[in-house]
Symmetry: D2
Subunit: 279 residues, 4 copies
C-alpha cells in the first residue's frame, strides 16, 4: 500500500546554529520510496548521512540566524511482513543474533536493569512470544494515561511506570524496558503514522521475535501496517527528529501520512503481526 507522508517544520535561530534532522523515510526493502522532495529555506548546503547499523537518514546544515523552514514530502510503498501473532515465538537469549544484543541492554530511557523482577512477576508467566509482548503493550495501554504535558525530555520508563502517565515516546520507552527485562530485544521507532489523530510524529516500539523486528504500539493510536518508519534506536535518546547546537526556537509544525489517492482502504485495523524488517 502506498502513502503520502511529510512534514513542514519551522525554526527561528537566534544566531549561528547547526541542525541535525532525521525526518526522511527510511529506505528499506519493505518500505520503498517512490518519490520524495526536501526543501530547506534559506538554501544552505546540506550534509547527508545514513547510519549503517540503523538505516536512519540524517541531514545536517548550518544557518547564520533567522527563520528556517523545511518541507519534506514522500510517497512510500509499504509491503510489511504479516504473520499470525499466535505462531510467533521468542528466541532464547543464548540463540539471539549477536547484532540484537545491544537492544537487550538498558538505555537512558529504558532502564530494564531495574525492572527485572517486575517484568518477570507481571508478565513472566504469560504465554511466550508475540502474545506476551501484546499483553505487555495492553497493560501499558490500560494502566497509563495518555496525557500531553505529563512528561518531559528527562522522563524515563521508570518514571512512567511509577507515575502512570505519558505520551507516545513514554509508552514506547516503557514497552522497550519491559521487553528487555524479559530477555526480548526491543527498540524505539519514530514514524509517520497513519490514522494518528491529531497528526504528529509518532513513536512505537519493535520487539525481536523469531527472526524479525515486530511492531507494537502501546498507545493504540495508529495503524501498524500504515507506519512509515523514519528512525530506529535504543530509545527516545537515539531518535530525535531535530536536534541543534546553538540557540534555536521551534515554531509550528505540520505532519501527515495519508494513503495515496485511489488506494483501497478498509476501516478495520489489522490484527496481523506486522514487521518492516526484511529477515
Amino acid at each position: 500500500m502506498r502513502f503520502e507522508v511529510g512534514c513542514e517544520l519551522a525554526y527561528e535561530a537566534k544566531g549561528p546554529a547547526s541542525l541535525v534532522m532525521n525526518i526522511e523515510a527510511a529506505k528499506l526493502p519493505r518500505q520503498r520510496i517512490l518519490g520524495e522532495s526536501l526543501v530547506i529555506s534559506p538554501e544552505v548546503p546540506v550534509e547527508r548521512y545514513t547510519a549503517p547499523e540503523s538505516g536512519n537518514r540524517y541531514l545536517r546544515f548550518a544557518v547564520q540566524g533567522g527563520p528556517v523552514k523545511l518541507r519534506y514530502e514522500a510517497e512510500v510503498e509499504l509491503d510489511p511482513h504479516r504473520a499470525d501473532p499466535a505462531l510467533i515465538d521468542e528466541t532464547p537469549i543464548g540463540k539471539l543474533p549477536f547484532e540484537t544484543m545491544p537492544h537487550l541492554w538498558p538505555s537512558r530511557y529504558s532502564q530494564s536493569d531495574r525492572l527485572l523482577r517486575s517484568a518477570r512477576a507481571d508478565f513472566g508467566s504469560l504465554g511466550e512470544g508475540h502474545q506476551r509482548v501484546t499483553a505487555l503493550a495492553n497493560w501499558i495501554y490500560e494502566h497509563l494515561e495518555y496525557e500531553r504535558g505529563s512528561s518531559n525530555q528527562h522522563t524515563s520508563a521508570v518514571d512512567t511506570l511509577v507515575e502512570r502517565a505519558g505520551v507516545c515516546r513514554d509508552f514506547a520507552n516503557l514497552g522497550i524496558a519491559l521487553c528487555r527485562a524479559l530477555g526480548i530485544p526491543a527498540r524505539f521507532v519514530s514514524a509517520y503514522a497513519w490514522r494518528l489523530d491529531p497528526p504528529d510524529f509518532h513513536a512505537v516500539f519493535e520487539a525481536w521475535l523469531e527472526g524479525r523486528w515486530y511492531l507494537f504500539d502501546a498507545t493504540r493510536q495508529a495503524a501498524l501496517d500504515g507506519l512509515v518508519r523514519i528512525g530506529v534506536g535504543r530509545d527516545a535518546s537515539d531518535v530525535g527528529f531535530c536536534t541543534w547546537d546553538g540557540q534555536v526556537e521551534a515554531g509550528p509544525m505540520k505532519v501527515w501520512n495519508e494513503p495515496s489517492p485511489g488506494q483501497h482502504v478498509t476501516e478495520e485495523l489489522t490484527v496481523d503481526a506486522i514487521s518492516l524488517s526484511e529477515i
Copy 2:
C-alpha cells in the same frame, strides 16, 4: 498480654562521639511498662527526651571513644484495641483530624505524590476502609521479595515499587506511600516484634481509619497483637533506633520479644484489626 522485650547493642567509637538511641518501649495507655532497665557501659551521663507529638523516647549520651554496650530490657503489658476489620471505615480527607494531616504528606522514603495514579488505579476501586489497606498490604506481600541486602539506607518506596524487593523498612515505607496516595494518613512504626524469626528490630506501618491508628505488617512476619511499639514517625527517616555523630562502628546486636512466662499463648495469628492508639 505481657511480653518481655529487650536488646543488647554494641558499638565501637573511634573517637569522641555522640549517640542518640530510640530503643525504649513507648509508654501508652494500651502499652504499659511494668518494669524496665537500661545499662550503658561505660557509665555516662544520659539525657532523656520524650517527643510530645509521637511519644518516642530518646536517649542521648557522649563517649570519648572505645567500646560502648547497651542492654535494655522491659516487661510490657499490651492491651490493644481489637475490632472487626470489615466494620472499619475510612475517614474522608475533609473530616480528618488536623493532627493527622502531616501523615498525608509525602516524606523522604514515602513519596506518595508520585504514586497518586498507580494507587488509585490499583487499589482505588476496592472496598473502602481496613480491607482496602489490607488489600494493599497483601499486594506488597505478594509482589515483593523479602531479601536482605536488596536495599540500602537511600532506598525509597518508589525504588521498592520499581525493583520489587526489600526488607521490613521498605515494605513499611511502600505501604505508607500507597495509603497516603489514597488519602489515608499513614505512618511508620518500629517495634519489638513477637514471633519474628530471626529476632530483630521490626518495622510495620499504621493507617488512620475511623478514629484510630491501625497496625499493618506487609511482611506478615510478626503477630500484630504482640508488637511492642518503640517509635513512630513519617517514615524510616524519623525512626532510627541508633544514630550518631562521630566515627562509630556497629557491632553485634541481640533483640528479643517473648511472652512473659505463664501466659496463655495460642498458635494462631489474630485476624482482628489491631490498634495501640487510645482513641
Copy 3:
C-alpha cells in the same frame, strides 16, 4: 516595622471539594498581628487549627462546587532579632535541643542523606556558623538559574542540585538539604515577602544556629527583615498554601506585602542576621 500583607485567591470547584489553606500570618512574639480579616465567598463554615509544633494556622472548608474566592489581609508588626552574622556559631549535634532533631533528618524534597559527602567536601572546611550557611546560600544563588517552569511539584533538592535550576521552593529545599548534611537543623518557611518582584508567595529557609532559627534566602529576592511568616515545615511538602480533595482548578492570584503607610523605609537591604524565633 509594620507591614500590610495579604492575598486574593480564586478557585473553581468542579464538584464537592474540601480545601485546606495555610495563608494567615503566624502569631509569634516577634510577629504581632495588629489586625486581620478573611473573607471567603461563598460563605461557608470554616474550621480552624493551629499546629502546636509549628504555629501554622490552617483553615478548612467544604464547597459544593462553583467559584471560590478568598481575600485575606493583615497588618503585622515585625520585631525580628538582629545579630552580627560573624558572631553566630553552630551548635554541635550532640548539644542540639531534641526538638530540632526532626529538622536534621532527610525529608521528601530535602534528601540530605544523599548529600553528606558533597556538603562536607564543598562547605565543610569553611568557617563555621552563620557564615557557613551564608556561603552555602551564596553557592546556590551563584550556581542555580532562577527559571519559572524549570521544576514541578515532584522536583527535589537532588534534582535541583543536578539540574541547576528552579524557583524559590527549590532554592529553599536545596539550602535545607545542604544544611542538614552538614549537621545543621534547617526548615522551610513560606512568607509574604517584601520587595519580591513580581509579588507572590515566597519560600525561604531557616537554619538553627546558636539557639535560634535564622532566616536565609538563597534567591536574594526579598528583604529578610520584611518577611512575614505564614508556615514552617520540613520542606515544601509540609507548607502548601492551598491543598484540596476533589476536582479544583486554581484561578488568578494576587499577593502583597508593603510597609504600612508612614513607615521610614531605607533602600539598602539589611546585612544583619535575622531571626523571628523568640529564643
Copy 4:
C-alpha cells in the same frame, strides 16, 4: 611496547545457562595481538562475534551446569598515538563525524541531558580541548571518593555526582556524561590496565577530540599508554565482561597486565595525550 595480559575466571552454573564474554583484547592497528590463547573448561562449542561498530570481540557458549573456568592470555603490542595535550582542540558539534553522534546522546548510566547546566557552569569557561577534559577528569578525581561497595549495578553518573563516591566504572560514566553535556562525544572503555593495584578489569573513558578518541582515566590508577583495550561502548551498560542467562554464580577472578619480559620500563607516568584510535 609489549604487554602480557590475561585473566582467569570461574563460575558455577546452577543449571543450563548461556554465557557471553567480552574479555579478549581488541584487534586494532595500534593494538596488535602477537599471540593469544583461550581455554574454557568444560570444553564447549564457542560462538564468536566481532561487532562491526566497536570491534568488541564476543564469545558465547552454553553449559548444562556445574563449574565453568576460563583462562585467556595474550601478548599485545601497543603503539598508541601520542600528542601534546596543549595542542589538541575540540571539534564543533556541527563538524563532528556523524559516526560519533551516538556518543553525544545520553545513555543509561551517563545521563548528559540532566547535566547541561552543571557541565557548562563548572567547565564551560575553561580552555577548550584536551585540557578541558583533563580539568573535568581532575575534578572527578579530586571530588569523588574511590570506595568499593559504594555503588552497585544500577548506579548512574547522576547518582555518582550527587553522592560523590564510586569505583572505576562510576568515574568513567560520570566523565562521559560531563563530556557529552559539553558537546564532546565520549565513550566507555574496558581494559587490561598496567600498574593497576590491585589488578582487576579496569574502566576508563575516551573523548573525541580533533579527529581521534583520546583516553582519560579519572581514577588516575593506571598508565594510559599501557591500557590494553577490551571493549568500547556508550557506557557501562554496553561493556560487561561477562553476562549470562540462567542461574550462575561468579567465583574468584584473576586479571593481569604486565610488560613483556625484557622491555624497558620507566617509572614515570606519561604526560602525553594517548589515543588507540587509528585516525
